[in-house]
Symmetry: C2
Amino acid sequence: MAKIIPIHKNKENFNEAVKSLSNLCKEDLQSINTLILEKLDSSVPLIHEIGKYLILSGGKRLRPLLTTSCYNILNNQSLKSINHIGLAAAVEFIHAATLLHDDVVDLSKDRRGNLTANEVWGNKTSVLVGDFLFSRSFQLMTKYGNMETLKILSDTSVVISEGEVLEISNDKNLEMSQDTYFQVINGKTASLFSAACQVGGISGGAKDNEHQALKSFGTNFGMAFQLIDDAIDYSSSSKTMGKNIGDDFKEGKITLPIILAYGRSNNEEKKFLQNVISNPKEDQNNFKLTKELLIKYKCIEDTLIRANHFADIAIDSLTIFNDNEYKEAMIKLIETSVKRLA
Amino acid sequence: MAKIIPIHKNKENFNEAVKSLSNLCKEDLQSINTLILEKLDSSVPLIHEIGKYLILSGGKRLRPLLTTSCYNILNNQSLKSINHIGLAAAVEFIHAATLLHDDVVDLSKDRRGNLTANEVWGNKTSVLVGDFLFSRSFQLMTKYGNMETLKILSDTSVVISEGEVLEISNDKNLEMSQDTYFQVINGKTASLFSAACQVGGISGGAKDNEHQALKSFGTNFGMAFQLIDDAIDYSSSSKTMGKNIGDDFKEGKITLPIILAYGRSNNEEKKFLQNVISNPKEDQNNFKLTKELLIKYKCIEDTLIRANHFADIAIDSLTIFNDNEYKEAMIKLIETSVKRLA
């Protein structure tokens, strides 16, 4: 039987790539952090408290990093009328708002090794503070953006929420098509990656072909990233993941590995999966049996192949830019991101 | 002991005033409805279904009505660059989003005599569809507004969510100050009334003094409206209210009548109120005893006096406009709104 390779080392390589790119964008990221902190301020103390807890709890700031990378790869005169620092903060606020609401929807208790906000302050507070962060992001994009970036970010917010509703509309639906799954992960991840890249590019004075390239880079990187995340959920330990093993499994969440396994299973195995998904619980034996099906039908390998498809397109999209250190680090980011699971 | 006057007749007068103003703005309201329906469309069927359930369930469209009234009272050349129909729809989408999230936060089961969306589809779906409606509103305001209206509406969204968090931060706090209470109702009602009026005015080419007048009209009307709503909760029957008797009471929600009663109570009565609010339930006897305290300390009368203070300012704010049928109907709207409880 095939063996799942430990991913500790590969995960580290990705973290290194994030760090290298972050170093190149260090000043921008510091300005973004300062602005985020400033905009978490509110006359209502609870908002400030939760906002800080959430935003400062050690995420990678991947989306603001994409904004500033795409701004810097252009090496252009920047547009005076808009500000990529403000737009990067707006993107991070949208992301933080969706995390708060996601944790309420998924009843999650743990995020990046910390208790989720809904565990600490309750679901009600998380819903309302999520609304605050979302409103704040619109305030930021109104202040720092132009009509083009506003259109991109408000359209993206619609796509995000449509993706989330599509996902719960297909709750426990093992017959979900791959296309529907792609629409879901586009909504939950790729669309905001793409918007982050686009607003960075526009702030940096991207020409239309450059804008389109950065849009493609963000979208396809996001698709690859989420596919790998979904595969890792069936392959890693809590320690390396920063989230509990088999979270998706425990919640009965339908992701590509399970969709592939179900489609390829015989009738008996299909019944087993139906039973497991409709009564999700922390059952180590069921988890083990499910992973055996994933191995039998090469579902993790094929998920990885899909991820590489998108990653390759993301890398190709950068070919129109002159070689520079940002471009090199962005390619490395994609390459190591799909190798988190190799 | 004083007697609570039945409010059937007074409520009808307000409904008549809404109807008269709606008739004046009939064409606009039809266009707004058409646009709302169009924008509820989504590739995700569940969104369409819930959106229709919520938005078409027989609300008065008070906020879009304010937008179109404030547009029409000016009788000006309208600004070509922005569109009051689109902005009115954006305002209604913000309102609908907050209703969905409020019902999740309050665990409400009934709204306007129908089951709430969270009762029908569950809390998760309500959170996410609320996010969709909110995103859609930003899409609408980006499409139909300008930077000024975007700033007003995004600032308003922040004030709304701050007000909501402030409210749950003061959950069961009988010592909440009147000023904090005013900040809460400004967030939950007056700020969106105000924004609805302002964007209508700006679309209609309002000069600065006219803009300020309409802002004041909306804010003060909203404050008066919410004060009366909070008083009605202790005075009306389910039939006339379109919501269950004593909802705020059952939820242990702190509104002005209770704040006044608690402040004016003796120690024994204070203990009773503390007990009632910290263990809220549908206890007819406790409700009766609480209402007796409200009557003893004239809390409903004084809530009404506060409401009239704001209503008077709202009416005064309209003096700068030439007399016309819109102005007359808007004054009638305010007058009958505070007389819902007389």
